[in-house]
Symmetry: C2
């Protein structure tokens, strides 16, 4: 592909964050971000990153502004590496200017790196003049941030662990319309995590219990996909709640221990269990503790919101439906 | 032994609660209360139950008053069964009147059943005219409440799991004077537990991770005893904190899940970790979540108390040294 040295190459993409029902924790290849096990997720309609990438021969260096703030250090390095992957495929050398916006707080366990790297990968590849297919985009996004590969395809998604970079990517298993369940995200803290997920992941294997988890995980993934297919909400809810607790059992037994939960995490777990006893069915899943994901059927939405209003310490609630994956949007919107 | 039908047989005993460094969770014999694995504990100087037992031919039925309140139902049944064990050995048939007092709130994870059944067993056996040795008392106490057998011997204690009732008892491994560490018990809730420990124990085996724990536990017990013997505080602290987290990882992954932690549990865990970073070394251990046990060296006592004063939501602090086990006290004190 030949570009005129003066041409501005620009594209904007939006990508959703996603919630994993079966979680990704632990890598079998640190550099390629190959996960120890596959995972199953749902894209979230209201946790979005919108990213505009512009390559230009006049730019002296890569720069990224996220939510109005220049990203520096390790964060910038990770973005530059992702741009390099795209430039390498497109065979261009231009530097890029990137403007990225999240509609939710970053670094607080809401997987802004998933939506962020999915949007970045799509926008950068398009701006670089590439028309990559979903599989290649997912593989590329994975190298930026593992779970970002799940934010590329639509709706309910499976990330196959694979045994090489080319075989570790995500596919849509059901479209967003398949099942109208909700993920009510309860944001309880705007504080950044003590231990970044990337660092925490490295400790997965230090847990004595990790091999037991890995041994059973394929069976669990198949069971999860089956329950989503059959829309068996109760069994599905029980499965994903137990999976979240298993993940945290691994974290707690890592050396050193990882305690991601906060007081509000535990408060909400007890509340959700109590509400179930009261007949309002929902199940929780939780990644890094600052936020709870309440998975519920549409019919219980208002009852749950009402209950949540009675809980002190909630900063914001975001109601998500299953969503499309990363997509390009018209630049003139920005 | 022959008793005059009209004689009042009375004795009073005091027994400490104990904190397990290596925990008891899961039974291999439900009825005999044989634990799946051994455990290591320390008796606590300031969490005490004092119990007076009186047998008399004029009593029509067994009765027990705990902290001024008549115990009924399941609680009373458990006490009657323990009295039956003692009556069986002493070959008496008299009913008993029991007055028991705790200097701390019951049923809130402070092992009132440990101190309670240890004191009851000693007082009842003495009141019945028996002079049982420590081993027999420990075996008897165990049948009333598993961890009560650890409150019989002095100081630092090991409960050997055994493979029969006669081989499952506790012994003192070091006297209280051996090591002047503290257990600062932070009471954060006076609410009773949602799931009684006895019920929770039954779920231990439902955790996929339980066999892994059991496989490694002997090694861990030996390591713990070695570190207590050598008084290596840092390594000891790291070991017991990891053990507590492992126990809760088992609980979280039980089916159904057991979440004993409360918001304050998590708050204090983060605080203790932070204080360590600040140079004030202590480690936590936790049983049923309503209370935290902060294990520290004497030298950090004041600094820790000062930090605890800055934490909202603490109801009471009890500072414990290693203590003697169950002992008889003069009746005229009561």
């Amino acid at each position: 592909m030949i570009h005129s040295a003066s041409s501005g190459l620009k594209a904007t993409a939006v990508a959703p964050s996603n919630i994993a029902f079966i979680k990704y924790w632990g890598k079998k290849d640190e550099k390629l971000r190959l996960p120890v096990n596959g995972s199953v997720s749902m894209n979230l309609s209201n946790l979005l990153t919108t990213t505009t990438v512009e390559f230009d021969s006049s730019f002296k260096s890569d720069g990224i502004t996220i939510d109005g703030k220049k990203e520096l250090g390790v964060g910038l390095e990770r973005v530059v590496k992702q741009l390099d992957r795209v430039r390498n495929i497109a065979n261009i050398k231009y530097k890029a200017n990137i403007i990225s916006k999240n509609n939710f707080p970053r670094g607080t366990g809401l997987s802004s790196s998933a939506s962020g790297f999915a949007a970045l990968t799509l926008a950068a590849s398009k701006a670089a003049g590439l028309n990559l297919n979903e599989k290649v985009l997912s593989i590329l996004a994975r190298q930026g941030s593992g779970s970002a590969c799940r934010s590329i395809p639509d709706g309910f998604v499976e990330w196959m662990d694979g045994n090489s970079s080319e075989t570790s990517f995500s596919v849509s298993i059901f479209p967003p319309e398949h099942w109208n369940i909700l993920d009510i995200v309860v944001i309880t803290s705007r504080e950044k995590k003590n231990v970044l997920t990337t660092e925490g992941q490295k400790l997965a294997k230090s847990s004595l219990f990790f091999p037991v988890r890995v041994e059973k995980i394929k069976e669990k993934i198949n069971q999860c996909k089956k329950l989503v297919r059959e829309k068996k909400f109760t069994e599905f809810g029980e499965l994903i709640e137990a999976e979240a607790l298993e993940l945290h059992a691994i974290m707690l037994t890592s050396i050193p221990s990882l305690i991601y939960w906060l007081p509000m995490t535990v408060k909400l777990m007890h509340a959700i269990k109590q509400w179930r006893k009261d007949g309002i069915e929902s199940y929780f899943t939780v990644n890094t503790g600052q936020n709870m994901h309440i998975i519920a059927e549409e019919k219980n939405k208002d009852l749950l919101i009402n209950r949540l209003k009675g809980v002190k310490g909630i900063y914001r609630i975001v109601i998500n439906k299953p969503a499309k994956g990363a997509r390009l949007i018209s630049e003139h919107l920005f």
